[in-house]
């Protein structure tokens, strides 16, 4: 027995929701409708007072120097784009919600019009959204927003000749991306630098991951006396700011008076059958690279170590007990049980470690300024891609827009590779477990 009054047009509900709230009111959901309408009104007010000028400013990037600050206008415009985008999401949600509720009416299912039942519905169906909502809002403003600004900057002429507000910034289209191919004259340099960047990324990250996992597994054994002390020592390279330790390492590796050559190698030479020459750590590119990888391993492994130590707790003891019964040795238990469990939980973090080192230019810069010597084209022999780019484009005569363009291009490559890696490691694909 369908009550005619409760028939709702799905189409109409959807269309009305183009103004979020109206569709909900039409469906008889008073509270939801008013809430949505209030949000709509707030947005419209914001749009009229702040939004439209912001859009205008974003398009022109200012017309009068000093009065208009092009950079501020661009950032404000970006914020307005984000706010507008959020409103559109609300609109889409409102439309789909109104249509669904209308269908519910038509199917004569119960529709929550009273306030308590609506809240309960939100609690049940919207639970996952409620839990992730704050995360999304913060991420939009903290992560997406600066990336958008970087992206927009790549299409302007923001450089040392155009520092606002004394001068205006203008949109220049793809100009920077064309200019970037001036790098073509540095092609051989580019290939060399890219080669080392890849070796660096793979070696440094793999070493720190391997050492981190080994340390975590070894120090997790029950019989160890003073476990807590060891764990705290292993945390130290990370707890002391890297800035100061890298500067210290720069001295420690000095060829002539550094501790490695003067004390460590000298000490090792006391051991029978061992004899080390002094190693040209800071004056031979090969050894500087070796030193860099060692230092990054030292700096980076505690992070992995702490994480894996946490993960190890989630491996049920009975798995090991069963393996013991079957007579498995330590190595077998490690490769069959421990490692897969670690990788299962942490693969995405490992991948982001690789991208971190790909862009890790502070260690390159602080240890030996990208030296010793150069490989032409302004690149030092240990410069990685990002530190080379920064050398070319920043400093006291910065070219922010060009640097942004290069950043964007490099990022696209990095993102492509990591997406592939994510896919291969099946980092996102453990849905089978559900």
């Amino acid at each position: 027995m369908k009550d005619k009054q409760n028939k709702k047009s799905v189409r109409k509900a959807g269309l009305l929701s183009l103004i979020p709230g109206l569709g909900q009111l039409y469906n008889g959901q008073l509270l939801k409708g008013i809430l949505f309408l209030l949000l709509t009104i707030a947005f419209l007010l914001e749009l009229v007072t702040v939004g439209i000028p912001a859009f205008q400013g974003f398009i022109t990037l200012g017309t009068v120097p000093i009065r208009d600050h092009s950079l501020f206008l661009m950032v404000e415009g970006t914020l307005q784009i984000i706010v507008t985008f959020i409103f559109f999401m609300l609109m889409l949600f409102s439309i789909s919600d109104a249509r669904q509720v209308a269908k519910l009416w038509n199917a004569s299912k119960t529709v929550n019009t009273s306030i308590p039942s609506m809240l309960k519905n939100v609690w049940d169906k919207g639970f996952p959204y409620l839990l992730t909502f704050p995360a999304y809002i913060i991420m939009i403003f903290v992560i997406v927003f600066p990336v958008l600004v970087t992206l927009f900057m790549a299409f302007t002429n923001y450089d040392f000749y155009h520092i606002p507000p004394a001068r205006l910034i203008n949109w220049v289209g793809l100009q920077n991306f064309f200019n970037m191919f001036f790098l073509s004259s540095y092609r051989s340099t580019f290939v060399t630098v890219l080669g080392w960047t890849i070796i660096w990324t793979i070696m440094a990250t793999t070493c720190q991951i391997v050492l981190g996992i080994i340390t975590a597994v070894v120090s997790n054994q029950d019989f160890i006396v003073g476990k807590r002390i060891f764990r705290i020592i292993f945390l130290l390279p990370w707890a002391v700011p890297a800035f100061v330790t890298i500067m210290s390492f720069s001295n420690i590796f000095n060829d002539s008076i550094g501790a490695i050559n003067q004390q460590v190698l000298a000490f090792l030479n006391y051991i029978p059958l061992l004899h080390f020459q002094e190693i040209p750590w800071k004056t031979d590119p090969f050894w500087t690279k070796t030193a860099l990888i060692m230092i990054q391993t030292w700096l980076g492994f505690p992070y992995i170590f702490v994480m894996v130590t946490g993960v190890l707790q989630s491996i049920p003891h009975d798995l090991y007990e069963a393996a013991d019964m079957d007579g498995a040795n330590f190595l077998q238990k490690f490769t069959r049980i421990t490692l897969p469990m670690i990788l299962f939980a942490t693969a995405p973090v490992f991948i982001t470690q690789y991208t971190f080192n790909f862009n890790n230019f502070s260690i390159i810069y602080l240890f030996n300024s990208g030296g010793p010597g150069d490989v032409g084209g302004g690149a030092g022999s240990t410069d990685i891609l990002i530190s080379w780019i920064y050398k070319l484009t920043t400093g006291t005569s910065p070219e922010y827009s060009l640097a942004s363009a290069v950043t964007i291009v490099i990022s696209i490559i990095v993102i492509g590779v990591s997406l592939l890696a994510f896919k291969k490691t099946n980092a996102f694909g453990n849905e089978g477990m559900m």
Binding site: I86, F141, T283, T396
Partner: protein, 422 residues
């Protein structure tokens, strides 16, 4: 459980507030002005002497101009970097100190207030050039700075006067470097750094840019003079110094370390190092840098600091008055007394020369043979490009001519691509 629910709802509300806050733009209200003009002066926070100086001289200025001087402390370089954003946002100080090599770039970018040439009349041409960009002036010079020779009085009786003396020092057994046979640390200088090496280039006839450092198309860093300069430096790196001196990053620390441990007789370094030597209780003497083997003067870059005003200041008149006030003879001498930085003001400098401050005297003498740093933006490329050049020659990777030719052709290329048409 109830607590968690509360926490969640609090978070949701919080998120909403955050969004709304982001939407509604709440302009920050500017402080109301009460008749008196306020001048905000930023001083470096790393040295208490700067703030003390400003506090001690501000009274007379406040009275004379019916103004209030507000002192804020922030590291000089951070302050200058922040100016680009702070200025337009109305949060920048009105006046501050800047090293000469930053004045050029900042002025050219429109960050600094232009000053009238008449305010610089008390200076000679060279002094005025420190704050000059194109035809405009962006600040009032305050101090002078130049590399000098420090020597250990306990080990070296008389200040070395020529590089021949230094080479003799480098044959002295007392300075032999034990772990690398045949090497010696009698005299050290951080020549892997172009700032330190430039004096050598200039002494042999090299230069950075033509037309008094204004023509970026004419680069003199691979002319015959520059090549002999690098060839001479290579002699030290290869035949005398331990390998660690080729270390681009740590060789500065290397030099200081050897000097304060009585293992080096003489070093070339900046006047700022005196404090470190004093701390280490080294009985050091200061002198002008010895003359080069070709008989010419070592001609380092002329450094120092200028008082500059922000282009965003609301009181340009007052700011300019401050610039003139703090750089006058009496105040720049007072500044010297507080901070040991040597005034550029001729009258104040004369007073310093009459004192028995040997370091100051040496710096003033050295400053006379020094060359102002190029103020055109292209200079930024020179620092990065020249850094590996010395290493390439020192390590024998390339001949001095090769390394300089390569560096200069890179410079030409970069400058053509980056600066042309702008």
């Amino acid at each position: 459980m109830r607590r968690l629910r509360k926490a969640i709802s609090a978070l949701v509300v919080f998120g909403l507030v955050m969004t709304l806050a982001a939407c509604g733009s709440s302009g920050n209200s500017s402080g109301s002005t009460t008749g008196k003009q306020v001048l905000t002066v930023s001083v470096d926070s790393s040295n208490a002497a700067y703030a003390n100086f400003v506090n001690s001289v501000k009274g007379a200025f406040e009275k004379a101009n019916n103004a209030t001087v507000k002192v804020v402390k922030k590291p000089m370089f951070d302050q200058l970097t922040a100016l680009t954003l702070d200025g337009p946002a109305g949060k920048a100080p009105d006046v501050m100190l800047a090293p000469y090599d930053r004045v050029g770039a900042l002025g050219q970018q429109g960050q600094l207030l232009e000053v009238d040439k008449s305010m610089l009349n008390f200076l000679n041409q060279k002094g005025q050039q420190q704050v000059k960009v194109g035809k405009k002036y962006y600040g009032v010079p305050l101090t002078v700075e130049a590399l000098v020779l420090f020597y250990n009085k306990d080990l070296v009786k008389k200040a070395p006067a020529t590089f021949k003396d230094l080479e003799a020092l480098a044959k002295d057994k007392r300075f032999a470097f034990n772990t690398e046979p045949g090497k010696n640390t009698g005299f050290l200088v951080k020549w892997t750094d172009f700032y330190y090496a430039f004096g050598l280039y200039a002494g042999y006839g090299g230069y950075v840019f033509g037309n008094n450092n204004t023509n970026s198309k004419d680069i003199g860093l691979n002319n015959a003079g520059s090549i002999s300069a690098v060839t001479y430096a290579t002699h030290w790196f290869k035949d005398i110094w331990p390998k660690g001196m080729q270390d681009v990053k740590a060789s500065g620390n290397f030099v200081t370390n050897e000097f304060v441990k009585d293992k080096a007789g003489a070093v070339i370094d900046g006047p700022w190092q005196a404090a470190v030597y004093k701390q280490s209780k080294i009985n050091y003497g200061v002198a002008k840098i010895p003359t080069l083997p070709n008989g010419k003067e070592y001609a380092p870059f002329a450094g120092g600091k200028a008082w500059v005003a922000s282009a965003y200041t609301k009181n340009p008149g007052l700011a300019k008055k401050w610039l003139s006030y703090v750089t006058n003879a009496a105040n720049s001498y007072k500044f010297y007394q507080d901070s040991n930085e040597i005034p550029i003001n001729p009258q104040a400098q004369a007073r310093v020369e009459n004192s028995n401050d040997l370091l100051a005297k040496a710096v003033i003498k050295q400053y006379d043979s020094s060359i102002p740093m190029p103020s055109i933006p292209e200079m930024a490329e020179v620092w990065t490009t020249m850094e590996p050049a010395m290493f390439n020659a020192a390590s024998g990777k390339k001949t001095p001519k090769q390394t300089l030719d390569d560096a200069v052709s890179t410079l030409h290329q970069t400058i053509a691509q980056k600066y042309n048409g702008k």
